[in-house]
Symmetry: C2
Subunit: 471 residues, 2 copies
């Protein structure tokens, strides 16, 4: 049967879905096309709170570039929206399904195609799990730095889509800095290569970087050439306790202004320290108002820790504990690693924000979040990649209490407003997705939004790629 | 008088120029508008060979963002092409004037607006000279790494336009990695801000990186927020002589695969070594077929040099000379620094190529260039940022000899073809400009070119920004 375009667009009926499935199955094996609603519903969401998600018409799990091209050609032809997904560990709803969409899961394209120690590159498919790649390159003495907290689950494709960060960024930067080249299937199914496999290259506009952080809205990444670093020495960690958040932030400023290059510089506020104590009985003193963790993976980490310890004391640290060895370092990091789980245990549900400010404004950010928590009678813990000024204020609330939910949502908005006031950005590493799209326009301004939309229209004129995200 | 659009477009007559000047002078002081052909002709060219340049209708030298906006509004209204310029030290003709264009020189917007050691950023206008910025941030213990050889003259705006590299890239990366945010005047005169002043940020598409390397074809950068590093220790240099280019390239591969992070890793081939000897009597042995220079700016550079020296010997180095101190290091670097001048002295004129290959293919690149030189009976010296695989094959020729000019041009094309064959790019750091625009399409392929053009059209629908470059 021949459908009108409006029928095809209004994609919630069996007619369209029937046609869609028939077409998809001409280029995909049956086991790569999931339609059972009990199964497809499990692909509806990523890990963000407060983000609506629709019911996908179908979930496809291609294994080859050609299959992805077939999916996109079909979607273009039938004007069906496509939502690309990795492991769905995102925190902004960027991978949430929309009603009647094709969920395009890249998780089956999970091969590491090449690891080259001389050129210091890896070539991978998008579904490779971050930890799998990290371990594989480690065997060659190499290092893939980006380490989002979900690194044991999240995929490189998802990391590229959201431009993920992690704990190591203060020294090693974010995902974007490790993506040299991409193969991308465009909205209409054509295949485009961007970038290079060389260390340098400036041939034409940097479309590679344009795709990094584009949240699946410009094309489908099917292959990535990643830059690697040599494996650094193991890091040695120092913990410093402070009697105020402001003192800890002052220490951060002294460390960074002092020319130090820590491999990690993390801050936990009082609320977070107490939550961790309650959960894990780590024996952190309950009087601690802020805990700073600094690490160095240099040739002489003990010397670096001594210098940074002195700066912490100058900033008023009440106690400075440098680890003696790597095992002790790991123990100190456990406190930071269990922060989010501990905060979740406080009230059952958390909403994790991701506001990055200039590190010189970090103390103001912490004070402001405390004010906002008091005003809304909420528990808000802050963990921060302090060296980057990247804070994760985490609102703890009872999802069964409508009034508390409302206050949580309001506080979240106020925290983003505060971040912008301090010269920051509404997202340091989690992306915009559904969660922050109203805020993106505030950050970018009208001209910025217009030009971003023009770029989107250039790559996806039909608007079928991850619609309703970002803008 | 009222002009038709076609009159305005056909911009080689006094009518149009008269109107153009009148309009420009409504928003620019008289001294910022140059029309004397004896003066404007000196703005026609950058430093590339074999690149045609037209006669500008006018050269404007704005001092404020508003003046740049006025220029772009005027240009859009009258459909006059605009060629943005920094110091015109480029090597691809990217800043060459077209007939009847407005040359928009940003050299008078040369203020450093802010240097912030805590946030490790500088905020600058585009006309700031690279060396001026480097010295200014050095006084705060900070370091702006990108160091193109023209660093004493070239501007930050020009560096951003061409995504410049330099000697330090093997450790510190290229200009793109240091641009956090931009203010850009769009083709129609509107002002857009991109990016951020924070260490991290992923709000929307990365338009900042899209502008870096766009050769003035998408908008006019009027302000840049740059990331800075702490000033590293002074570097210590080692020189290693080899009996073949292949052996030197083998050493490069061993060094990079061995996990070393040199702050400089440069290679000079036999032709270059001899040219430098002839010019500067540096006493390099005439039997040397290749010279490798490695440097480390680490805490213990002597130890790093010892390890790298051993790798050079394992690769067959005939002599390894580690510098004892920083003064000696500078002497060793003189050989590299004088390479291009020395090659220019060989025949009066040079044509510098900029082909980057995976470093594992560097030896094949060197051999291939030698074959091409033999075939065309030309002297071609190769200097290379070897750690990056970024070669600068430099064709030495007599510009008065038409046949030699033809052979030089042909060899240049063959060198780019060779680079692509080896999995490389036609430009590592010099950009496309006029010189390589025919080659860009070969590297990007038809889909790539189409999408690049779509991006161009989104930002510059009238096609007035630096027309005839890149594509």
């Amino acid at each position: 049967m021949i459908m009108s375009r409006s029928e095809a667009r209004h994609n919630d009926g069996s007619v369209v879905t029937g046609t869609l499935l028939d077409r998809l199955l001409t280029g995909l094996p049956a086991e790569a096309v999931l339609t059972d609603p009990d199964v497809t519903v499990s692909y509806a969401n990523d890990m963000a709170s407060f983000c609506p998600a629709g019911a996908p018409a179908v979930v496809v799990l291609p294994r080859t570039v050609e299959e992805v091209q077939h999916v996109m050609r079909t979607a273009s032809e039938l004007r069906v929206p496509v939502v690309p997904q990795g492991a769905r560990t995102g925190l902004s709803g960027g991978a949430n399904a929309s009603d009647g969409c094709i969920v395009l899961s890249l998780t089956k394209m999970d091969r590491i195609l090449e690891i080259n120690p001389v050129d210091r590159i890896a070539v991978v498919e998008p579904g490779v799990v971050n930890a799998t790649l990290s371990r594989a390159v480690g065997e060659h003495g190499l290092y893939y730095p980006p380490d989002p907290s979900s690194w044991e689950m999240c995929t490189i494709g998802g990391n590229i889509g959201t431009a993920s960060g992690g704990l190591c960024c203060v020294k090693y930067g974010v995902t974007a800095e490790y993506v040299l080249g991409l193969d991308v299937v465009l909205a209409d199914g054509r295949l485009m290569s961007t970038g290079r496999r060389t260390a340098k290259g400036v041939a034409g506009y940097d479309l590679t970087r344009l795709f990094v952080g584009s949240e699946g809205s410009l094309g489908i990444v099917v292959r990535a050439i990643l830059a690697l670093k040599p494996q650094p020495p193991q890091q040695l960690v120092l913990a410093a306790e402070f009697a105020s958040g402001a003192a800890a932030c002052d220490a951060v400023c002294r460390i960074m202004a002092g020319g130090h290059v820590p491999s990690l510089l993390e801050l936990m506020d009082r609320t977070t320290v107490r939550a961790v104590n309650d959960l894990a009985h780590m024996g952190l003193p309950d009087t601690t108002e802020a805990l700073l963790l600094a690490a160095f993976d240099t040739a002489d980490p003990a010397a670096d820790l001594a210098a940074v310890g002195a700066l912490c004391e100058a900033a008023g640290a009440t106690q400075v504990v440098p680890a003696d060895d790597f095992a002790e370092s790991e123990l100190l990091l456990q406190a930071r690693r269990s922060s989010l789980v501990a905060l979740e245990a406080v009230k059952g549900t958390t909403m994790i924000d991701d506001v990055c400010v200039p590190r010189s404004r970090l103390a103001e950010m912490l004070e402001g979040v405390e004010r906002i928590a008091d005003k809304h009678r909420l528990t808000i813990g802050v963990v921060a990649h302090a060296g980057d000024g990247n804070t994760h204020p985490t609102v703890c609330f009872d999802a069964q209490d409508p009034d508390e939910c409302r206050r949580a949502r309001e506080s979240f908005d106020e925290i983003m407003g505060l971040g912008l006031e301090l010269g920051g950005t509404i997202t340091g590493e989690h992306g915009v997705g559904v969660l922050k799209k109203e805020w993106l326009a505030r950050e970018l301004g009208p001209v910025g939004v217009e030009m971003q939309r023009a770029v989107k229209a250039a790559f996806d004129p039909l608007g079928i790629l991850n619609p309703g995200k970002l803008f």
